[in-house]
């Protein structure tokens, strides 16, 4: 039992790894996750619009993109993109692996987000688009002002879930090789664990992940519940008294 506690919950080692975990690891994990999510959201909505498009030259490539990136293991895609781009000489961010990690996670996330956006947009009653079009709004304006905002609201919990997934997936970026100051939570825990032959630093990293992900999960559940039960409409009909209405009544 003592061995168990020592292997996983050695307070001394945990205290030792904590400054790096919070100062370097947490920061990098959040930078990776938030930047990748920003890419995933922006690109995801574009792919979603292509997915629902009736033009096959928009529709098919989007479909293939989504199927591919959702079908492959994350680590494989990170390797392919993160090593492939620099290998092909596409190195707009220099040789550091970090930006390619962000791009990989962002592109993978975009495939999942696109499907979420698509289902959200398609859950909006067709009458909304028709009403907007009937008022003379062009298709893109109607989508941007009327349909997409409602669709996003319906899938906001699912999008938040996806963010949680991206936070966890940042732990795979280390395969691209990170400089000391670029290491995220997992890599920092793993490095020290290997150095000292004890898993407590990794457990400490795990706890930091949980502090981010568990509250978010509960937030998602709460949101989901609120969306599902909806607000109770207060229905009060008052007699139409003003101008036209009263004139009309006399007719």
């Amino acid at each position: 039992m003592n061995d168990f506690i020592n292997m996983f919950f050695n307070i001394e080692l945990i205290t030792k790894v904590l400054p790096d975990l919070v100062g370097v690891g947490l920061m990098n994990t959040l930078i990776l996750a938030v930047s990748a999510t920003a890419i995933a959201l922006a690109f995801g909505i574009v792919i979603a619009m292509a997915l629902i498009s009736r033009h096959r030259w928009l529709n098919w490539p989007a479909r293939i993109y989504v199927d591919l990136l959702r079908g492959l293991p994350v680590i494989l895609t990170i390797f392919l993109i993160g090593q492939g781009l620099p290998y092909m000489g596409v190195q707009p961010f220099g040789p550091s692996a970090y930006p390619y990690g962000i791009i990989s996670l962002g592109l993978i996330g975009a495939a999942y987000m696109a499907e979420i956006f698509r289902s959200g947009i398609q859950s909006i009653h067709h009458g909304q688009l028709e009403a907007a079009r009937a008022l003379g709004m062009p298709y893109t304006t109607s989508m941007a002002m009327i349909v997409v905002p409602q669709g996003i609201r319906n899938v906001f919990p699912a999008l938040t879930n996806q963010f949680i997934g991206i936070v966890k997936d940042t732990s795979l970026v280390y395969v691209l090789g990170l400089a000391v100051g670029e290491r995220e939570l997992y890599r920092i825990g793993q490095d020290m664990s290997q150095r000292v032959g004890n898993l407590s630093p990794l457990v400490a990293a795990g706890i930091v992940y949980l502090i981010i992900t568990v509250p978010l999960t509960y937030y998602v559940n709460w949101l989901d519940n609120r969306l599902r039960t909806g607000r109770v409409p207060v229905i009060v009909e008052e007699p139409a008294t003003k101008a036209i209405a009263s004139e009309g009544a006399k007719a």
Binding site: G127, A131, M137, I146, Q150, E237, K242, A245
Partner: protein
């Protein structure tokens, strides 16, 4: 409620098919500016499809439609510009639930007519007051009754200053006690000279307000004329049996 220009409508040889299903089988219809035409007929006869063709929510398979003197079915017609002059009100209201009542009205004024936010709000306030809902400007649609929502939908369409209004069974989704408030607004609109095409099951309304009643069945216009003629002495057997069912 000022109507700037009212438009007539001319429908010529209109056919519309959904796949193999031919829903409109050659419709000819001429509506004068300021005329109120009610379209009646059994379910599935193509009333909504005809109405929705008039602002190209349905694209005709063949035939032509003129709004005013412009052929909207001609290639290259500016559909959005056209629609901004053709008001439409739906059975299911279709208010934008993520926007306040006021914003429901101002969004198209700003985005389509290019009005400033302040000017759009003025127009919205004026239209809401005409339908007796000034106090609801900052409410959300789901906090309104069906009758109130439909009055907002009418105000929203009228705010664009259309030259013609299309109504598709706008009272069918309402509780009976809320129908009158909506019909009264439509009656007033008719008196002010708006061109109106009204698909309705409200025979009382058709009788009282329509200049002309058009009876459709199975994709064709079977009979049309002034309401008194049509309701009191229907010529066709189909209209007789339809009226005996609905009256």
């Amino acid at each position: 409620m000022t109507t700037t220009t009212t438009f007539g409508v001319r429908v010529e040889g209109l056919h519309k098919s959904f796949g193999q299903n031919e829903v409109l089988k050659g419709i000819d219809l001429k509506i004068e500016p300021g005329e109120v035409v009610c379209i009646i007929g059994p379910s599935g006869s193509g009333k909504s499809t005809l109405l929705r063709s008039m602002n190209l929510l349905e694209v005709p398979t063949s035939g032509s439609i003129y709004i005013g003197d412009r052929e909207i079915t001609a290639g290259g017609a500016d559909i959005n510009e056209l629609r901004s002059h053709v008001g439409m009100v739906f059975q299911s209201f279709n208010l934008f639930p993520h926007m306040t009542v006021e914003r429901n009205i101002t969004v198209s004024l700003e985005r389509v007519k290019g009005l400033s936010s302040a000017k759009a709000k003025d127009v919205a306030a004026a239209r809401l007051s005409e339908v007796g809902l000034s106090s609801k400007a900052s409410s959300r649609p789901f906090n309104l009754s069906g009758g109130q929502q439909q009055r907002v939908a009418i105000a929203r369409a009228l705010a664009m200053e259309p030259g013609i209004m299309l109504f598709d069974e706008v009272t069918s989704a309402l509780d009976p006690e809320l129908v009158k408030g909506v019909l009264n607004i439509m009656i007033d609109l008719a008196k002010r000279g708006m061109t109106m095409v009204v698909v309705t099951h409200e025979m009382g309304f058709a009788r009282q307000v329509a200049d002309r009643v058009v009876f459709m069945d199975r994709g064709v216009i079977v009979e049309q004329g002034p309401p008194d003629e049509l309701f009191i002495s229907p010529r066709s057997e189909r209209l007789r049996s339809f009226l005996s069912e609905v009256l």
